[in-house]
Chain length 179, copies 3
Amino acid sequence: MQVSSISIAAKVPLRVKSLHTNPATINDPSSTATVAAPKWAQKTITLPPLKRGCHHVTSKIVKEVGQELSGFKCGLAHLFLHHTSASLTINENYDYDVRDDTETFLNRLVPEGPSAPWKHTLEGPDDMPAHIKSSMFGCALTIPITNGKLNMGTWQGIWLCEHRDYPTSRTIVVTLNGI
Amino acid sequence: MQVSSISIAAKVPLRVKSLHTNPATINDPSSTATVAAPKWAQKTITLPPLKRGCHHVTSKIVKEVGQELSGFKCGLAHLFLHHTSASLTINENYDYDVRDDTETFLNRLVPEGPSAPWKHTLEGPDDMPAHIKSSMFGCALTIPITNGKLNMGTWQGIWLCEHRDYPTSRTIVVTLNGI
Amino acid sequence: MQVSSISIAAKVPLRVKSLHTNPATINDPSSTATVAAPKWAQKTITLPPLKRGCHHVTSKIVKEVGQELSGFKCGLAHLFLHHTSASLTINENYDYDVRDDTETFLNRLVPEGPSAPWKHTLEGPDDMPAHIKSSMFGCALTIPITNGKLNMGTWQGIWLCEHRDYPTSRTIVVTLNGI
């Protein structure tokens, strides 16, 4: 779901005579042309609640910002998760066992429940472990844009890792910058 | 403390009739405007020594670069810590127990002292664990800018995690880019 | 090895008297200039196979993109590894024991072999641990550019961490953006 959107490109109208083939400059030699400077687009999207674990969400993200992405020949896409008990990471996009094994690893690594040493327990036994996992994987990703698409490796995908037992919808600020 | 600062905006003066204040576009080629291309600002700041542990430093960072941030309608703020024995991460901004529990987790995870398997011990027993913790959380953050402010979630804050026993001041290169 | 390269700067020709080479500003509206808007450069490089472990590759990276870097007074360099079984991190650039100790830590942290709990084992016992280590350290870095060079701390270097037993060449998309 789109919460808000900004999309801006600096345009400089000029009278020109000669043909510029540089895609960053002027396309129409015979009349007043428009020079497009680097563009910025920012959109806040919300992913529906996902159960505790690692989820491959590339298609969900591209569905929300694919149209904006298509306007960039070269640039960077920045994804910023607005939460401290979930995380974003890039990992294998094919075998769901990789996501399950990663969740298994995180749960073995971070103690949870009565034997855990945490002081911060008011929000439930899964809350403090969720904060730790969020800092381990991080809440942000920056991915290159090439020819209108996210330029990831063949086996790479965007994962949203939900670290809480009772998931909620998650907000991501997507910022696109390029030419 | 500011160590150095660069702040630049490409401006293209044009003969025009009326003043456009929108820095991003000119809608009327025959009208007056100064077109501002995307701006860059880079500033090196230094945080005073903080004791070993996780510290919420959002207000310290904003105090240093808030004025520069206010000039960006849409963009990205990049923070880069110039050290390998501390880290930057984003996590809970309210309950200090979350910071203490995270420090507890890091100290339980990374062995320290005579029983640790490290070869790199010349700089003290806390040095090699500090390097490992620095790569676990990372030394850089990129945060969206919206309407002149860091666009973080309600409960998110910037943490500087000091992993050495005898802290020193820490240098951060802040780079702002946007429109 | 360079696989592909894009390098573009938006230029706005104006009627003027003298040539300004400063890409960032025009100080005299009545004078001649070519105004260069922020530049983008994107290059895909490939690092040769490196044995399992942590490797300091700053010089290898700079050898590939140093010429492009030299054209930026202020900006950001983004490195994006196209793989899910290796990682990029920034850590100590001097004592190789730090790299060895970090590899020791990762191998102690992530179970491998018959006793490991992984379901994803078809690609070998080192594959699932490699995926986990890749998300722990991450596959991307963003580093400030100042006066044509990567602006890192005195002791910081770029590490490529190879998590597979039988290494292959690794592809990195480098995106430079600035003025």
